[in-house]
């Protein structure tokens, strides 16, 4: 089946429904699937559960979906840069499940790898451990965390080819490779869409088997916290 689509709007067609679970790549505003987020907003799909390390800022990234109240629940590790998020959360309109950052990454990795759960030391003795199975290994206590499987993964890569093979650039890689694996379907938006054979097979980060649809995007790549040397 042909994987290449011509726009975000076209790429999400047939893959979205109210109440669905989405896994999104990105860290802060770095490496986020900008065009797919906008397409989801325009589609009006709602009651979304979104697993994403952050929730964007008020007027960019996943913040756009919060603005239009399309999100029911966020699964994130840090949401400090979004005041609309805070408002909706404190007023009870929005649900949040905080996951430690490494636990969130591993839940996606496990979800994509067919591993239903894993034990980790992270969060033992904190509210994160409440209600979870505890088990000792070699004299240390661990908690059971469950894998995350999404209905749809949305990721952003630097380069991709017509087979869906992806390469990320610098720290824009972040959650994208694990998010790509944990969706029943995955859509990738790329800055450069190249013919098969143009990427050295040894340099591919995400093999095309994980990617169902791919399109060439036009990215703003907004900087959240510009910091310069003196």
């Amino acid at each position: 089946m042909k994987k290449v689509f011509h726009s975000a709007e076209q790429a999400i067609n047939g893959l979205i429904f109210d109440g669905m679970k989405i896994a999104a790549g990105g860290f802060g505003l770095c490496g986020i699937p900008e065009e797919l987020i906008t397409a989801l907003k325009l589609s009006g799909v709602n009651n979304l559960t979104i697993a994403s390390n952050n929730a964007g800022v008020d007027d960019f990234g996943i913040g756009l979906l919060l603005q239009s109240k399309q999100v029911k629940k966020m699964i994130s590790s840090y949401v400090g840069e979004n005041s609309e998020f805070m408002r909706q959360y404190l007023s009870g309109e929005l649900e949040i499940e905080f996951n430690p950052q490494g636990t969130l990454a591993e839940r996606m990795r496990a979800g994509g790898a067919g591993i239903p759960g894993f034990y980790t030391k992270t969060g033992v003795g904190t509210v994160i451990a409440e209600g979870k199975e505890h088990k000792d290994f070699n004299g240390q206590t661990y908690i059971l965390e469950e894998a995350f499987v999404a209905d749809l993964s949305i990721v952003k890569a630097w380069k991709g080819d017509e087979e869906g093979n992806l390469i990320y650039r610098k720290t824009a890689r972040n959650f994208n490779p694990v998010a790509a694996t944990c969706g029943k379907n995955c859509i990738a938006e790329v800055e450069e869409l190249v013919p098969v054979g143009s990427i050295d097979p040894d340099h591919i980060h995400t093999p095309g088997i994980f990617v169902n649809r791919i399109f060439l995007g036009n990215h703003e790549k907004r900087i959240e916290n510009m910091t310069l040397s003196e």
Binding site: F27, G28, L29, C30, G31, N53, S76, S77, Y78, V79, G80, E81, M86, Y89, L90, I96, F98, P100, Q101, G102, T103, L104, A105, E106, M108, R109, T120, K121, T122, G123, V124, G125, T126, V127, I128, W158, Y168, R169, K170, T171, A172, R173, N174, F175, N176, P177, V178, H205, K221, R222, I223, E224, N225, M226, T227, L228, S229
Partner: protein, 208 residues
Amino acid sequence: MWDRNQMAARAAKEIKNGMYVNLGIGIPTLVSNFIPNDINITLQSENGMLGMGPFPSKENVDPDLINAGKQTITELKKTSYFSSADSFAMIRGGHIDMAILGAMEVSEKGDLANWMIPGKLVKGMGGAMDLVSGVKRVIVIMDHTNKKGESKFLKKCSLPLTGKNVVNSVITNLGMFDIAEKGVKVLEIAEGSSIEDIKKSTEAQIIN
């Protein structure tokens, strides 16, 4: 009394040649300014980078290159990039030698609270819970007391924990401390402070 820079400089003395170190947001970020030139260390940024360089000049800003505080950053010759899953394999797997973090409260047992004030501040723990449970040595930098003058160095934390029994050492404006078996051990007293000042400002059990 130590200021922010002096606390950061004191923490930098704990970093030894060859170490892989993760620096948290805030005062811990300043620690990198005080690492001596004659030692070779590698800074890890949990968003997926080993070998973090200094902040960029205006011409070198790259939106694809940020640290865990979302600040623009540069790479070094030795830099490598990886996914969040690999990043936390390094952290959780015990491959990082040291983490230096900020705190709202620390207890005499080494419990740390730095991610949430119920009903007020709900930002999230980011990678802090993973770091304190997986990194070999955890150093906290914080003010000894809060704005009301109340001790942040407590018998028991009042805020939701980031980790239980995870802090090894604490650096405050009053000095440097180790979390020992039976309480808090004063290792160094800041200039202008005294053991009496420290005892007055510390709720935790001091064993010196």
